[in-house]
Structures are given as structure tokens and as C-alpha cells.
């Protein structure tokens, strides 16, 4: 298959380069072209433009504005809703994943996997309208809760408020947690708990010394992914809020639509870059932990 590369002057070296290119890179070119043009190029261009002023001179002004009000509150709110929704969903989601994966039949497990997938992904706008109908001021669930003595709308509550949005976000965060944490549960081998018992460990000792240390990295990783998902969610928030809750994705959306008159044309790009940085702080550790755990999770 491989032709031996013989160092024999320029022409054959050129041919060798060509051969090695065909063998090592050419088949990846279509994929690389698509990713390059439709993904890396727009991202790079955005980063570049975010450093340009209205008359295309280099500037840091966009970023200075991006971290001032009202955008500062937008970031704080977005980070808060990401953190809170992840924190609330993580533990129940992990526990649910544990019981389903360890006690459930294979049919149940597959069904839950599919249902979680649908809930975690098809969310967005339909999800917002569903909650509007269920938990809006006229919603049946609202009536039931009021009947039970919990009047949601007695105060300042609305679905477009921080708390309201948080409740709606949980509806996709919890299934997402089940999805991303389940593989970690599956990779906990029964032999480990049996070996621990055999070696004299009580259930408690097994969890303290083996179970929790093994699951913890994946738990943190899952939490980070949930944070990123809550932090950057756009569709649901866009449908439910009416400009009363500053969130970075909505602010960017507004700038893109030209709804907000911006003295700085490239402010939106700077906000986007900051978003990417924050999101990367969560997703990159998530990917790194996943990769590391995969080493002993294999087989």
C-alpha cells in the first residue's frame, strides 16, 4: 500500500508530498471544508469584527461596553439562570438516572432515554407555549396549585420572570441530566460493589470510597454541560419574556434584529465572544473529564 519515500531530489519529494497528502488528508477535505466555511470562518470573523470600531479601526470599546450595564446584568442573569437551573436539576437528575439504570429493565431504560432525548431537545418555543398554557395565569396547573393553597400569581410572579423561566428551564435540564449522567452510572461495574463488599466494605463505605469518587467527575462534568445549556438557551426565554428580564442571548438577539439602536455596530459580536468564553469555561472541562473517564469506562 504505502510507497516507500525515497529522498532523491525535488521532483520525487514533491510527488511524495502529494502522495502523503492524498493518503493522509484528502478524504477529510469535504468535511474540513464544510466545517471551515460554515463554522470556523463565521466564528473567526465574529471574533475579528468584535475588535473593530464603526469605522473599522481596532478597538476594545465593544468589550468595554459589553461588560457595562445593561449588558452586565444580562450576563449576571444568564450565568445565574445557568447555575441555578443546573444546580437544581443535577442531583435529582443523577438520582433518577441511578435508579433507572440500575433497577430498570432494558425496555424501560430505552424508553426513558428516548423520552429524555425528546424533552431535552425539542424544547424551545413549543416548550414555552406549553408552560404558558399550563402555568400561565389561566393555566389548569395554576388553578390546581391555587386550590392547594399556593397562589403563584399573588406576588410578582410571571413565566417571564427569573423564577418563572427557571421552572421552565428545569423541564429540559432534568432530562438532559438523565441523558448525560446515565453513561457514568452504566460504567459503574457491579464487580466493584461486590468486590468492595467482599473486602469488608459496608454500603456506606463502598459509596464513600469507591462509588462517589468514581461518579463525581462525571457529575461535575454533567453539571457544567447543564450550566452551558441554561446559560445559552434562547428560544424559550425569547418566547416567554417581554423585555423585562435582561439575558445575554436575548440582548444579542435584539442587537442582531436591529431592535436596539446601537452606537456600536459590533457590540453584538463582542457579547457573542464573551458568551463563547463563558460557555467554553464550562464545556471544555466537561469534554476533558468525559475523555479522561472514558479511559477506564471502556469495556
Amino acid at each position: 500500500m504505502t510507497s516507500q519515500v525515497i529522498e532523491e531530489g525535488a521532483p520525487s519529494r514533491g510527488r511524495a508530498f502529494l502522495a502523503s497528502f492524498i493518503k493522509n488528508i484528502l478524504p477529510a477535505v469535504p468535511l474540513l471544508l464544510i466545517i471551515g466555511f460554515f463554522f470556523l470562518f463565521p466564528i473567526t470573523r465574529m471574533i475579528y469584527v468584535s475588535f473593530l470600531s464603526n469605522d473599522n479601526a481596532f478597538t476594545l470599546e465593544n468589550f468595554k461596553t459589553a461588560i457595562q450595564e445593561p449588558y452586565r446584568t444580562g450576563f449576571i442573569n444568564s450565568i445565574k439562570i445557568g447555575l441555578f437551573s443546573a444546580a437544581i436539576a443535577a442531583f435529582p437528575g443523577a438520582l433518577a438516572a441511578y435508579f433507572i439504570e440500575t433497577r430498570g429493565s432494558s425496555k424501560l431504560r430505552r424508553t426513558i432515554a428516548v423520552m429524555s432525548g425528546v424533552l431535552a431537545n425539542t424544547g424551545g418555543v413549543p416548550l414555552a407555549f406549553m408552560f404558558y398554557a399550563a402555568l400561565g395565569i389561566q393555566g389548569y396547573l395554576t388553578k390546581v396549585l391555587k386550590h392547594l393553597g399556593w397562589d403563584l400569581y399573588s406576588g410578582t410572579f410571571s413565566l417571564g420572570s427569573f423564577i418563572g423561566l427557571l421552572i421552565v428551564y428545569l423541564y429540559f435540564q432534568l432530562p438532559l441530566m438523565v441523558i448525560v449522567f446515565s453513561p457514568a452510572i452504566v460504567s459503574l461495574r457491579r464487580e466493584w460493589s461486590e468486590a468492595a463488599r467482599n473486602l469488608g466494605a459496608s454500603q456506606f463505605n463502598y459509596w464513600i470510597r469507591i462509588g462517589i469518587p468514581l461518579l463525581f467527575p462525571s457529575f461535575i462534568a454533567s453539571f457544567l454541560l447543564l450550566f452551558a445549556s441554561g446559560f445559552s438557551a434562547y428560544a424559550t426565554a425569547n418566547a416567554l419574556t417581554v423585555g423585562n428580564l435582561p439575558l445575554t442571548p436575548l440582548q444579542i438577539g435584539g442587537l442582531l434584529d436591529g431592535n436596539v439602536s446601537a452606537a456600536q455596530l459590533n457590540l453584538g459580536k463582542a457579547l457573542g465572544v464573551v458568551m463563547i468564553v463563558i460557555s467554553a469555561c464550562a464545556v471544555i472541562p466537561y469534554l476533558a473529564i468525559q475523555r479522561r473517564s472514558a479511559k477506564w469506562q471502556k469495556r
Partner: protein, 346 residues
């Protein structure tokens, strides 16, 4: 030594409709290595797990040194167990794995690490003590698992097919090492395997199981030479099954009357069970009773497959230098060297 004897009395265990153990009895003496051998699904692993306390029997008792431990939970039974594979804790280093049992017994860190190193030294892995287990080969991992199971000086050592996931050469080395360690520590050991060669090679006694029952338990020699049932006969080693007639307590094999060894009430048409090494082949043209089909050269010995005139295919194991003149198609005379021959119902 802390080693103790082990008895299982009338143990039964069902999983749904499957009788994994059916009134199962077993005695293992102090310092003895007993193997449980059988096809998959025969209940051997269940027996081991019942002893470890990882399964609870439906009825019957487990005794250690004549003390009933049936209701003692698994983590309070003082037994070391080696699993098939991948049982090492991936978040702990090799030495932490080995010291785990002692840690659970509240032994101080210096003492337990010293003990862990002793054991790792015994299995030849002391140099790897700081590594994580996924950095070791399969054979090394099982050595660590063995060290871990022995580190807290268990009363009984349980081996659940510890070699089955390893390569052939590693298996042979490790099984000898297991035996060497077991003998030097004098630990009472129950060893579950489906590999008869493995069981025969290192055990004091081998118990052959089928359908949740012990078919026979005896020394490897006795098991091979005097199988108590036709199941044992055909499960242990290779057996020729030759259809013949039983009359007057004798069977006729290749023209010779040989006393029959019966296990039950066999009569009339029976199957004679004859080991390949008990069949001798002579090359001849006159009074030939079979024809050579193939000869498999295996070094010192050769495996010769013949077909008798009535169509039965028979295997013979002969030393290679005596079978050099046998070729496919040669007409030969078969003879049985047994003084008596085991029979079973056709």
C-alpha cells in the same frame, strides 16, 4: 494460619424457573484447594457467590469451621474473592487496592501498606504499586486482584474464573502462581472454572457439577480414570462413545470381551466409553476392523481418527513414533487396552 474449613449443606437456590443449586453439598478441608468444574449455567458460580454472601440461598446452610454463617452479610464474612476481570477499583492505585480490605478492617495506614507491599512482592508486582490499575495488563490486574483478596488473611479464598479473560500463556503461568501461593499460605480455596485442564492442574480435588448438583468430587486422577457417571466421563477429557452390546456383564469391543463397569442398570444396547489413549492401532492387512481417516500430528503424540466397519468413528492417541506408518486409507486393527470399560445407556 487463619484458614478454616468450609461446608455447604443442602443448598438450594432458584432464579425464576431455573434451579441454579439443587440440594447442593460440598465439604472443603482446611488448606485444601477444591475446584468446581462444569458447563456454563451448571450453578458453580452461584455456589461460589452463596459462599461469599453475594447471593442468599433459598434453603440450606453455609458453615465455616462448623459455624453457621448463612445470615452473616457479605462484608462481614472474612473471605477473599477474585472475580473474572475488571474488579479492581479504578480510582485507587495498585497498593491502595491491595490495602483496601485492611483499611476496611481499620488497620493503620503504615501497617496496611506494609502488608500490601508484601503481597505485591509475592505476586511480583511491587514495582507497579503506585500505578493505576488501567495501566496494567490483564494478567497483572488479576495478580493484583489475587494480592488484594489475600492481603487481609481471609479464612477462605474464592476464585471465580479468574483466568478466563486472559491469554493462553498468561493463564498457564498465573494458575501455577495461584497454586504456589495457595500452598505456601495454606488458604482454603474454592475455585470455579469451566476449563477442565485448569481445574485438574492445580486442584487437590475437583467437583464436577451439572444442573445445580455435584455429579462427582474426587482427585483429578480418580476423576479421569474412574468417572462415576457418564456425564463426568464425557465432560472430563475426551471419550470415545462406541455402541455395543452388554451381556453377562461383558461388552464386546473390536472382537474382544471386556468386563463392563456399570453405574446404573444398563443392559442390552449400550455405549462403551473408552479414552483415546486406551485404543491401540496396529497396521495390518489381515483381520483389519477399521480404516484410518486422518492423522493429526501433535508433537510427541498423534491423534488418529479411524472408522470401524460398522461406521463408528473412533479416536486414538498414540505416541508419534509408533504411528508413523498410519496414513489416511490404511487398513488397521483396533484394540482396547482397558481391563474393564465403563458403559452407559445408549
Amino acid at each position: 494460619m487463619s484458614s478454616k474449613s468450609l461446608s455447604l449443606r443442602n443448598i438450594s437456590k432458584r432464579f425464576g424457573t431455573v434451579n441454579a443449586l439443587d440440594n447442593f453439598n460440598l465439604e472443603v478441608g482446611v488448606g485444601e484447594l477444591v475446584a468446581l468444574l462444569g458447563p456454563s449455567g451448571c450453578g458453580k458460580t452461584t455456589a461460589l457467590r452463596v459462599v461469599a454472601g453475594l447471593e442468599h440461598q433459598d434453603s440450606g446452610t453455609v458453615l465455616v469451621a462448623d459455624k453457621n454463617i448463612s445470615d452473616v452479610p457479605a462484608h462481614k464474612r472474612n473471605m477473599g474473592m477474585v472475580f473474572q476481570a475488571y474488579s479492581l477499583f479504578p480510582n485507587l492505585t495498585v497498593e491502595e487496592n491491595v490495602a483496601f480490605g485492611l483499611q476496611m478492617r481499620k488497620v493503620t495506614k503504615t501497617v496496611r501498606l506494609k502488608k500490601a507491599h508484601e503481597l505485591l512482592d509475592l505476586v511480583g508486582l511491587d514495582s507497579q504499586s503506585k500505578r493505576f490499575t488501567h495501566q496494567l495488563s490483564g494478567g497483572q490486574q488479576q495478580r493484583v486482584a489475587l494480592a488484594r483478596a489475600l492481603a487481609f488473611e481471609p479464612e477462605i479464598l474464592l476464585l471465580d474464573e479468574p483466568l478466563s479473560a486472559l491469554d493462553a500463556q498468561v493463564r498457564v503461568n498465573l494458575r501455577e502462581e495461584i497454586r504456589r501461593l495457595q500452598l505456601s499460605l495454606g488458604t482454603t480455596t474454592l475455585f470455579v472454572t469451566h476449563d477442565q485442564e485448569e481445574a485438574m492442574a492445580i486442584s487437590d480435588r475437583v467437583g464436577v457439577m451439572s444442573h445445580g448438583k455435584l455429579e462427582q468430587i474426587d482427585t483429578p486422577d480418580a476423576l479421569y480414570n474412574k468417572p462415576a457417571t457418564s456425564f463426568v466421563a464425557s465432560f472430563v477429557g475426551t471419550m470415545n462413545r462406541i455402541p455395543t452390546q452388554l451381556s453377562d456383564g461383558h461388552v464386546q469391543l473390536f472382537g474382544k470381551m471386556i468386563p463392563a463397569l456399570k453405574n446404573g442398570n444398563e443392559s442390552g444396547n449400550v455405549i462403551a466409553l473408552v479414552r483415546p489413549e486406551s485404543i491401540v492401532i496396529k497396521s495390518t492387512d489381515e483381520d483389519a476392523n477399521a480404516k484410518v481417516l486422518t492423522r493429526l500430528f501433535m508433537g510427541a503424540s498423534s491423534n488418529i481418527v479411524c472408522q470401524t466397519k460398522d461406521g463408528t468413528v473412533v479416536q486414538s492417541l498414540m505416541s508419534s513414533d509408533k504411528s508413523g506408518d498410519l496414513h489416511p486409507g490404511s487398513t488397521v486393527k483396533l484394540e482396547v487396552t482397558n481391563k474393564e470399560v465403563l458403559v452407559s445407556n445408549a
